[in-house]
């Protein structure tokens, strides 16, 4: 039913003789394909990092442009494929048919079908150029400055306004423009945050920029899109958009990871980081015991050579681990941060993500669990 309707629509000629039944099924197949094209494949919200589900001013702007080009393309698709189908169905001949009229061209027709695409493109060019210039704007005022540094294969984030550094999970406030300035430490990477910021490549010697402002709280995934070697596929990150108050709490907790603060003060100053930790005396004692042992392992096994637990010190070969305990994902934004995964990642990094700089240290199960428990508190 749909088939024949679309066939009629496309060909404009409902022919009913038997020979055409076969042609109709061809038309039907292609029409179904066109309908599938129209429908896409379910709503964008079925997908976790869809570029068609913009959640910031920057990506909404791009999405508006995308919609213009999408509908133009769809119209051209239907018209031209429709014309092709019409030609195939209408002008089918047999070997014994007389020779058709020999036409070599038609200047008027050719001028028209050169001019029409030019006009369509002009219609697309205007919003394109406007949007190009907007993407390069540099935010003014009290924008949150974030420095992004790509590494093989993880992301470092610095907050110069707060003197803080973190990795793989960037917290930003809603309602405030975020200004990203990005470089790489080693090879080229590309920072792609589909719902908030789209994409820019990062280089060593020049700074790439992006900006966005979101009003919607949430955890937004992103990942590297410039092929950067062995574990390019596992170089993801998250951006946590929080209410301004939540963000201030996060900043305070991160600042509290600096050593001068007393352990007790540190705990109380990190309500979000310590959420879920039991407050009973017994529980606290247990944790303190673990902490001591874990801290020793962290020193002795050499973790400290590459990782800092202090968010105010932007140094170390590996990701800064302040706040690791509450990050949603580990191993660069893709492995769920469960106790089991964390211990496994610490114990067998080369199995979890082959080729990373972090070596298998030969930790026992108990040591790995102790270290995981220790990190859980940071």
């Amino acid at each position: 039913m749909l088939e024949s309707t679309v066939y009629q629509l496309l060909t404009g000629c409902p022919r009913m003789d038997q020979r055409n039944a076969r042609r109709r099924s061809l038309a039907g197949a292609l029409a179904t394909f066109a309908v599938a094209l129209l429908a896409g494949c379910g709503p964008a919200s079925n997908y976790k990092q869809s570029s068609l589900d913009p959640k910031s001013d920057f990506t909404s702007m791009i999405h508006s442009l995308f919609q213009v080009e999408y509908y133009l393309a769809l119209a051209v698709f239907v018209l031209v494929e429709g014309a092709l189908l019409y030609v195939i169905l209408r002008f089918r001949g047999k070997a014994e048919d007389p020779e058709p009229e020999q036409v070599h061209g038609n200047t008027l027709v050719e001028v028209i079908w050169t001019a029409i695409p030019a006009l369509i493109l002009a219609a697309l060019a205007v919003p394109t150029v406007k949007t190009i210039f907007r993407t390069y704007e540099v935010p003014k005022g009290d924008a949150l400055q974030v420095e992004v540094i790509g590494h093989q294969w993880w992301w470092e984030f610095r907050y110069p306004q707060y003197g803080l550094v973190t990795a793989n999970e960037l917290h930003v406030p809603t309602g405030r423009t975020v200004s990203l300035r990005m470089i790489t430490q080693d090879v080229l990477h590309s920072f792609w945050l589909p719902q908030l910021a789209a994409k820019r490549d990062v280089f060593q010697q020049r700074t790439s920029t992006l900006w966005f402002r979101t009003e919607k709280e949430g955890l937004y995934p992103g990942q590297c899109t410039e092929f950067c070697g062995l574990q390019h596929g596992r170089m993801a990150f998250q951006v946590m958009a929080q209410s301004p108050a939540g963000f201030e709490q996060y900043i305070a907790a991160m600042k509290a990871s600096a050593p001068p603060a007393a352990p007790a003060a540190s705990d109380s100053a990190k309500p979000t980081a310590m959420a879920g930790t039991t407050t009973t005396t017994l529980g606290a004692t247990t944790i303190v015991a673990d902490t001591t042992q874990g801290a020793q392992l962290f020193m002795m096994k050499g973790c400290i050579g590459c990782h800092s637990l202090n968010a105010t010190k932007p140094m170390g070969v590996g990701p800064n681990l302040a706040g690791i305990g509450t990050r949603k994902y580990i191993a660069a934004g893709w492995l769920e941060n469960t106790d089991q995964n964390l211990a496994r990642w610490i114990q067998h990094p080369q199995d979890v993500k082959h080729g990373v700089i972090m070596p298998n240290l030969g930790l026992t199960d108990a040591e790995a669990q102790t270290l995981a428990a220790y990190l859980r508190q940071h």
């Binding site: 869809s50 570029s51 697309l124 080229l188 060593q204 790439s208 596929g233």
Partner: protein
């Protein structure tokens, strides 16, 4: 006229079919070289297809461990490199070789031994690239080999040496062939064949050679710089040494974008031959078709940076490259409309070549439209390096080039091998290919826009990519099956196919005037042409079909003798590059020996008697 040939009662050697392995190794016959190109390209095509299937199996479900990340990176690098340089380009070269001289009414190409040299260099280069698999060190930095990942610091193994050197070897083959066909087309046309009377396939080939001649030097320079960086410690692309990785991208795409047209223009040419013959009408808007291709070729050199919008070149550069890219859609649209205009009012003969040509048009429209979509830099900031782009260029290169090349294969098979392919199997091939192709690549548009990046060896569960990726993998196997049908068709034709007449499709061009397969000397006598469709014209003036042409002795026709030196020179080229790659082990002695082989071969070649 070609069909009423007198027997030459000369005393000179009579041309007989030469057989045996040695006759193929030393051949300088453009038709045999064409067949060699085709067979080699098909071998590499199957290899690249196998790589694609492994990629699809790996991506069929999330967090899959079917292949290691290292092997996956080798697979996608070699899949791209193979399909571009070892499959599509040499498939085109097969048709250039076999049909440009026939279309022009010529006996051979301008430089027959250089032609053999091109083929052997190509074959050795392709084998060299793939030999890397034997050492577990296949190239793993992408077909684009972006700096500074390709530097020795970040790619310490020999993988990218194989790539940088393999592509230089292949570049020599392309450049030699480019010069050869450029000169052939300009100088070897039969009387009356003015430029604007050449078959459109020859025009497409001519413009392709221009692109090769202008763009391959750029990549050659870039590859030499990369090789120096890797082997001899220079710093062209190494930031710590004052080099610039972004320079590589510019050099690569100044080559890389024209390369796209090198891959597609021959296909435009093939479709422009098939459409008129199977519509029984001349090509609509011949002059516009020529100018459109020239326009595409010229603009093709001014749009390279649209591959680099995400690098952030600044608003002015983005605007210029964006608008230039959009402009290309205009001549491309003109071509599509002219093909439709050719069929309009015609009497469509729905044979297998026509199926594939129409499939080409249908698929290429989709590839063109998605191309326009990422010509807008802000939209490209979401689309580049995602599966949306993978979908786009497969619609252009598979839906475009491979459909058209397959159309050409069915169209010209009877001429090349003297046997018909089975129509039923051909159409089965078409439908499997069309369905498999769309099932494989259409969902990639969707997953790409919904957030799936390219070149990732796996993806996590829960992103919504699972179903569509599984569908793509199923599609890939249907696509592979379609080529099994093709192989079966070829084998069947080989064993029991019907003998092909000289002109099975009512062709318009000169190759259909001579027996299938053609004799070594092509045309017993020079033909004079008076129009764009010389054979149709002959048939009209003869009042119907022409009599089947008779095979003649060809006595007295001078043809270049076979030679081993093109192959030896190709071996010399190969050895020189090998000695550079292994210079730390073999030292100057290795380089000296390799150079000696090369120069001796060129010397012997230069002073070989040619009569």
């Amino acid at each position: 006229m070609a069909t009423s040939v007198l027997d030459h009662a000369g005393t000179a050697a009579i041309h007989q079919e030469k057989t045996g392995l040695w006759s193929w190794i030393t051949t300088v016959d453009h038709k045999r070289i064409g067949v060699l190109y085709g067979a080699s390209a098909f071998f590499f095509f199957l290899l690249g297809g196998l790589e694609a299937l492994l990629i699809r199996v790996q991506l069929s479900r999330p967090d899959n461990t079917f292949v290691t990340p290292e092997f996956y990176n080798q697979l996608f690098t070699m899949h791209g490199t193979t399909m571009i340089f070892l499959a599509v380009m040499p498939f085109s070269a097969m048709f250039f070789n076999f049909f440009i001289p026939l279309h022009l009414g010529a006996r051979d190409v301008a430089f027959p031994r250089l032609n053999a040299f091109s083929y052997w260099v190509f074959l050795l280069g392709g084998l060299f690239l793939n030999a890397s698999f034997l050492f577990g060190a296949a190239p793993n930095g992408g077909w684009f080999g972006y700096a500074n990942l390709s530097s020795r610091q970040f790619s310490p193994g020999p993988n990218m040496d194989f790539w940088a050197i393999g592509l230089q070897i292949l570049g020599i083959a392309s450049l030699a062939a480019g010069v050869n066909f450029f000169v052939t087309i300009l100088n070897m046309r039969t009387p009356g064949m003015k430029l604007m009377r050449m078959p459109m396939f020859v025009w497409a080939s001519f413009i392709t050679q221009l692109l090769v001649l202008l763009s391959f030097p750029v990549i050659t320079v870039a590859l030499i710089m990369l090789m120096f960086d890797r082997l001899f410690g220079t710093h062209f692309f190494v930031p710590q040494g004052g080099g610039d990785p972004l320079l590589w991208q510019h050099l690569f795409w100044v080559f890389g974008h024209p390369e796209v047209y090198i891959l597609i223009l021959p296909s435009f040419g093939i479709v422009s031959e098939v459409m008129p013959v199977f519509s029984r009408k001349p090509l609509f808007g011949y002059a516009a078709m020529v100018f459109a291709m020239v326009f595409i070729a010229v603009l093709g050199f001014g749009v390279w940076s649209h591959h680099m919008f995400a690098t952030g070149m600044g608003p002015i550069a983005d605007t210029v490259f964006s608008l230039a890219t959009m402009l290309i859609a205009i001549p491309t649209g003109v071509k599509i409309f002219n093909w439709l205009g050719t069929a309009w009012g015609g009497s469509l003969q729905m044979k297998t070549p026509m199926y594939f040509a129409l499939g080409f048009i249908a698929m290429f429209i989709i590839g063109g439209l998605s191309g326009v979509m990422h010509s807008a830099p802000p939209a490209d900031l979401q689309q580049t390096d995602t599966y949306f782009v993978v979908a786009h260029f497969h619609y252009v290169l598979f839906g475009g080039s491979i459909f058209a090349l397959t159309s050409g294969a069915y169209y010209w098979w009877p001429k090349m091998f003297g046997r018909l392919l089975d129509e039923g199997l051909g159409k089965l091939h078409f439908w499997l290919m069309l369905i498999g192709f769309n099932l494989t690549f259409f969902p990639m548009h969707i997953v790409g826009l919904h957030g799936m990046p390219r070149r990732v060896y796996t993806y996590s569960a829960g992103f919504g990519f699972e179903t569509l990726n599984l569908l793509e993998t199923v599609g890939a196997f249907i696509l592979a099956t379609s080529f099994v049908v093709f192989i079966f068709n070829v084998v069947k034709s080989w064993r029991s196919g019907l003998q092909a007449p000289a002109d099975p499709w009512n062709g318009a061009t000169l190759e259909w005037a001579i027996p299938s397969p053609p004799q070594e000397f092509n045309f017993p006598e020079e033909i004079t042409v008076h129009s764009r469709d010389p054979l149709w014209e002959m048939k009209r003036s003869a009042g119907g079909r022409l009599p089947e042409p008779v095979r003649t002795s060809g006595a007295g026709i001078h043809l270049p003798p076979p030679s081993i030196w093109p192959l030896m020179a190709a071996v010399g080229v190969m050895l020189v590059f090998l000695s550079l790659m292994l210079h730390e082990k073999t030292g100057p002695v290795g380089i000296f020996i390799a150079m000696s082989v090369l120069f001796l071969s060129i010397y012997k070649w230069a002073f070989e008697p040619v009569h």
